[in-house]
């Protein structure tokens, strides 16, 4: 069983301990608490150099120190503090960096409220467990045979058919009824190829609907999107060796994943404020009366400084947009400001939490919004951002690649 060390200031007082344990158990992992002596706490805090007032945060520092010093054994670390606690946030980030700088143990951070439920933590726990237990799968660099990858996202369902290391067909449809959307996507992907779903060697599923779809289609691989997207990104960008950062600004949550030799070693996920989501850009394009495809080029024509859009909240973000337009602002400036606002928030909330490694590979549907890609590049000091071919199908490509070699349907 994978041992995930819980380094926290007191999940039990928020009533979320059970949810964290449930999430870990779902993916074959168990939550362990690094054991330490009372005397070790002061010693560890003195070494660490952070004078926390809260003794639970001192305990948290000592637990992190015991992992780094090898006094406690852990395969992965889950760092969690209360949402809205300033001292907790400071310690959470300091501890995360400390563990990452001194070990190769995968780490994920989370700020919880009393409403945090196990299913919100599934993707993080599954990704931690996968990084530890399924390295052999993640090491795959070449697709073989005929495989199908399905990414059932919050907004759209993507399907990719691959054969002999090439994408031979893609499908893309809005996510409505889960299975119906899958079959529409499958039909699109196989169109003109001469194949049907019965011809494939294996099926891989990812995204929000992965478990349900995977069960119904007897998929050989059901995998969270952090590992799958990271793999798909480095595969398509031709960066399977060395380091890279993968950025996926999704419909409902954002992922930033650092990768080393094709294997994710750290990631952060957004998902608290919708002002930094693809959905905000979707709503922006509707308000500006342009298609989502037109939003990017329109943003490139505008100047974000001429419009003030920087709300964390999707509703107030749209309110800012309406105010800007009502005051006579141009659509192009508003589109540029919307892209800048999303990029700025992703930078503030997530890219700060991770040691950015070049190249930055931007994927997901929003990577097709050229104005957003430029805003991200500008936010990071003008670094090159790679948007690989099929970037909008990244999860489906990753699933089709990873399931390769696992399925033997045609042998039966």
């Amino acid at each position: 069983m994978v041992k995930i060390a819980l380094v926290s200031c007191g999940t039990e007082y928020s009533g979320v301990q059970k949810e964290i344990e449930k999430a870990a158990l779902t993916f074959g992992a168990e939550i362990v608490l690094p054991e330490i002596d009372l005397d070790y706490i002061e010693e560890a805090c003195a070494k660490f150099g952070f004078s926390a007032q809260s003794s639970s945060l001192k305990l948290m520092i000592a637990r992190a120190m015991s992992i780094v010093e090898g006094k406690s054994k852990a395969d992965a670390v889950f760092i969690a503090t209360c949402f809205r606690c300033a001292e907790g946030a400071l310690v959470r980030n300091a501890v995360r960096k400390f563990i990452q700088d001194n070990t190769r143990i995968p780490v994920v951070t989370y700020s919880f409220t009393e409403r945090t439920k196990a299913d919100e933590l599934f993707i993080r726990m599954e990704a931690l467990a996968t990084t530890v237990t399924r390295r052999s799968i993640l090491a795959r660099e070449k697709q073989e045979g005929l495989t199908l990858g399905i990414d059932s996202g919050s907004t759209t369902t993507k399907v990719v058919a691959m054969e002999n290391n090439k994408v031979i067909g893609t499908g893309w449809t809005e996510t409505k009824d889960i299975m119906e959307s899958v079959f529409i996507g499958v039909d699109e992907a196989f169109e003109g190829t001469g194949y049907t779903i019965d011809d494939v060697d294996g099926i891989g599923t990812t995204g929000y609907g992965r478990i349900n779809i995977g069960k119904q289609l007897n998929a050989e691989l059901i995998q969270e999107e952090l590992s799958v997207n990271a793999k798909g990104a480095v595969y398509l960008a031709g960066h399977q060796k060395g380091e890279a950062t993968v950025l996926d600004i999704g419909g409902m949550d954002n992922k930033v994943i650092t990768v080393n030799d094709g294997i994710p070693d750290n990631f952060t996920m957004g998902g608290i404020c919708a002002g930094a989501s693809g959905r905000f850009l979707d709503m922006t394009s509707r308000r500006l009366d342009v298609t989502i495809d037109q939003l990017g080029p329109l943003a490139l024509q505008g100047n974000y400084r001429n419009a003030l859009l920087n709300s964390y909240c999707i509703v107030f973000g749209i309110q800012d947009l309406v105010t800007t337009l009502a005051a006579g602002g141009s659509k192009a400036d508003a589109a540029a400001a919307a892209c800048h606002s999303v990029a700025e928030q992703v930078y503030e909330q997530q890219l700060q939490e991770i040691d950015l490694r070049e190249p930055l590979i931007q994927v997901g549907g929003t990577s097709l919004i050229s104005g957003l890609v430029e805003a991200v590049s500008e936010m990071l000091g003008g670094i090159d951002v790679i948007v690989p071919e099929y970037s909008q199908h990244i999860g489906a490509v990753g699933a089709a690649l990873l399931v390769s070699g696992m399925g033997h349907r045609q042998d039966k």
């Binding site: 007191g10 039990e12 007082y13 003794s55 209360c82």
Partner: protein, 176 residues
């Protein structure tokens, strides 16, 4: 017998000193024990659920972290019930702690704000200071009997009716 809130609320030493003097310590352990023994809930390790931080809204607003509100859902009722309080400042976590500095700040403020007899002492750093602290606590506990007794005496006095007031004034005037 007086119900006394203590801070840190799980200090065994403070609870013991109070019990020796015949008073009741409002200690965290009893509250936790009640929760842990509750057969209806199964949320290890302390049976605190999502509902508890919501109950904590009585003491702290929604923008306060859930951990503070969860702690206050247990400590808050103890503060509400307190007739007196003993606060030890600067205690190390071995003496007792709730783990959260923000909870400490709010709890001690609520105790100070409650207008009840309160003793505040600083955690000792040597043997002499330790004797002094224990003596101060014992003196305070002894004084509580007097305070409570005088309160009860005051309560026992029958309220003087308006009619009696008038009769008294009339009598005084007649004598004049």
């Amino acid at each position: 017998m007086v119900e006394i809130a203590i801070y840190p609320p799980n200090s065994l030493i403070l609870a013991d000193l109070i019990e020796r003097k015949g008073h009741t310590p409002l200690a965290l352990q009893k509250q936790i024990r009640q929760k842990v023994k509750d057969p209806e809930i199964d949320s290890p390790p302390m049976n605190i659920t999502e509902d508890d931080p919501i109950k904590g809204l009585k003491y702290a607003a929604i923008e306060v972290p859930s951990g503070v509100r969860g702690r206050m859902s247990i400590i808050g009722p103890l503060i509400d019930a307190a007739e007196a309080a003993i606060i030890v400042d600067g205690a190390p976590f071995g003496f007792g702690c709730v783990g959260c500095a923000r909870t400490n700040e709010l709890s001690t403020f609520l105790l100070r704000d409650k207008d009840i007899p309160t003793l505040e002492v600083t955690y000792p750093t040597n043997k002499d200071e330790t004797y002094q602290m224990v003596n101060e606590i014992n003196d305070f506990l002894d004084s509580l009997d007097e305070l409570v007794k005088s309160d009860e005496d005051f309560k026992d006095e029958a309220p003087v009716s308006e009619k009696e007031d008038l009769e008294f004034v009339e009598k005084e005037l007649e004598e004049d």
